[in-house]
């Protein structure tokens, strides 16, 4: 099986380590970025199959980072992993970033595990 690469973007170290752990269990190799700018710098030199973004970060927000990533022609799936998942938030992601993205609440680990499991199978 080809090594799948994911980039986890969150300003909280614990969350990055947690997501890396969850993804690693499913066979992903994971890079980390502390904020949107670092994420953009990494995607400029590396290619990823999946990007996990926190919405609330210093500097660029998750949505702002995603829009820049799409401009930079990143075509893979993006998971928005946020503490506050509201219908408004989901709607703005669909309308601004696109239908092909995923939104997962930070309080629902199972959801995330299931989602990466599904994404892993699709690949």
């Amino acid at each position: 099986m080809l090594d799948k690469r994911a980039l986890v973007v969150d300003d909280e170290e614990d969350i990055r380590i947690l997501l890396r752990g969850l993804l690693a269990v499913k066979g992903w190799s994971v890079d980390q970025a502390c904020d949107g700018h670092e994420a953009l710098a990494r995607t400029a030199t590396e290619s990823y199959d999946l990007i996990v973004l926190d919405q609330r970060m210093p500097g660029l927000t998750g949505i702002e980072t995603a829009l820049r990533l799409r401009e930079d022609s990143f075509r893979g799936p993006i998971i928005f992993y946020s503490a506050y998942v509201t219908p408004d938030f989901e709607e703005s992601i669909r309308s601004e970033v696109g239908e092909e993205n995923f939104v997962v609440s930070k309080t629902d680990i199972e959801d995330f595990v299931n989602l990466i499991h599904r994404l892993g199978d699709d690949r």
Binding site: E12, D14, I15, L18, G21, L22, V25, K106, E110
Partner: protein
Amino acid sequence: MTRFLREVTRAFRARELNGDPWREVAEAMQRVRVVVGISALGVAWLLPNATTTQRLVFIGLVGGVYLPYGAIALSIAKKGHPASRIGIVASDMLILFTFQLVLPQTRFVAMLGYLCVITVYSAIGGLPAGAPLTVASVALTVVAQAVQPQPPRIDTYTFAMFAAAAGGLSFLLDRTGAQQRRALRDLDDSVVKLEEARRQLEEAQRLAHVGSWSWDIVANEVIWSSELCEIFGVSLDDIPRSRRSFYELIHPDDRDGSLEAILRCEDTGEPFQIQHRVVRPDGEIRWVDARGQAVRDQATRTTLMMFGTVQDITERKQLERLRREFVSGVSHDLRTPLTSIKGFAALLRVAGSDLSEDDRGDYALRIERNAHELESLIAQLLDYSRLEAGHTTLAPEVLVLGGVVRSSVEELEPVLAGHDVLISIDDQITVLADPDGLKRVLRNLIENAAKFAPRSTLIWVGAHNAGEEVVLSVRDEGPGIPQDQRERVFDAFYRVSQSAARGTGLGLAVAKRYVELQGGRIWIDSEPGRGTMMSFTLPRARPASGSRAA
């Protein structure tokens, strides 16, 4: 009585025949214009053969400025009392009204050769003493006459008639005087009470930050209370007297809404209650709760006047905003460590056996640290609510400061996130403090330093004696706190803007309360970009055998 009148008439006629009796007085008055003397209300019969000197002495005795055909007596009247004398000179009779007690004068007048003087006294000092005094005065005159009899005497009957009349007049004066005085006193009391009530109202308005206003539309008269002027930041002379100048004081964003409510009240009489901002002439913005109602003429269905109150609710608004931010901040801050705990626990569960020993250890440590953070957040919330409710009592004891600091730092190890803590405190330094209270303050300051300063930077904790106090400081190499926010960081729920670190915004508020409860002060020295030093004082204790390191 008839005989007396006949006698007087005869004497008067005889004087007329002898020339103008007033000329003598007029001549005398040219020499003495102003006389000040003792006063009495007297009806005096001047003897037909009284000399000018005698008349003048008498006039002088009763005092005042006397004119040939009348007399105006002057007196210094106390506030709330009527002027005490009026004198009328008519023919040979000098009538004087006074309200003071001058018994000795009566005898003196008799000695001067006057036939009789009956003095009418009015109430003295509010007591109805006039009638008895008049009787006493009459008696005194009779005695004086007896001792030094002066012809011609009037008969006992006439004398008694006048004495009775004088007594009656005294009685009436007593009554009216007392009534008048009572009325004046009541009026005085009412004015004092009214003034007191007004003062209390102003004080109440000042304390409650409530101003009041009224607008008489018919007379176009606007009245503002002092507190209302204070809220709007205008002086009493500058209160807005037109709609336009009033609306200019309302924040532009709130102007339309306010205008609509006030106009509706004016048009329909429907009371209004609105909250809006006021832009004071000095630029300061205040939030107010304004209420008003109209007084309507039911027949013409027009508004005659409007009145209402304006309460300054700026503080409440600020508190509301802080509380909103607090609730959203706290729920985020509680959720963040909880997310990590749940996440790592799930990770251990689903992948426990596949994980390396190192990873398992790391995840367990992270669970522990996040649980610790959650615990400290909850402790802070509880602490704050206890402090706010005044339920915190401290039991100060002598403590070796270095020991308390070291044990606090050890307990904080899991949240220090790679920061090195350098403790430089002489073991001789002892303080008088509540061990738990001191630890709370230390924890909050050290946790703050660890939270805001970049990883692996140094946190320094030091202390020195300063007179009767010990100054304890916690210094970090973090981003610093801008000058304009240094005081506010001690406010509950306040967070330094732009900071990415989380926290309830209660840590420093709690620390400040604890320090102040122990009789100390807390302050910040900070240079943006170069770190922050938080310092506080504690009462210094002399080393004692009972001290402990907590």
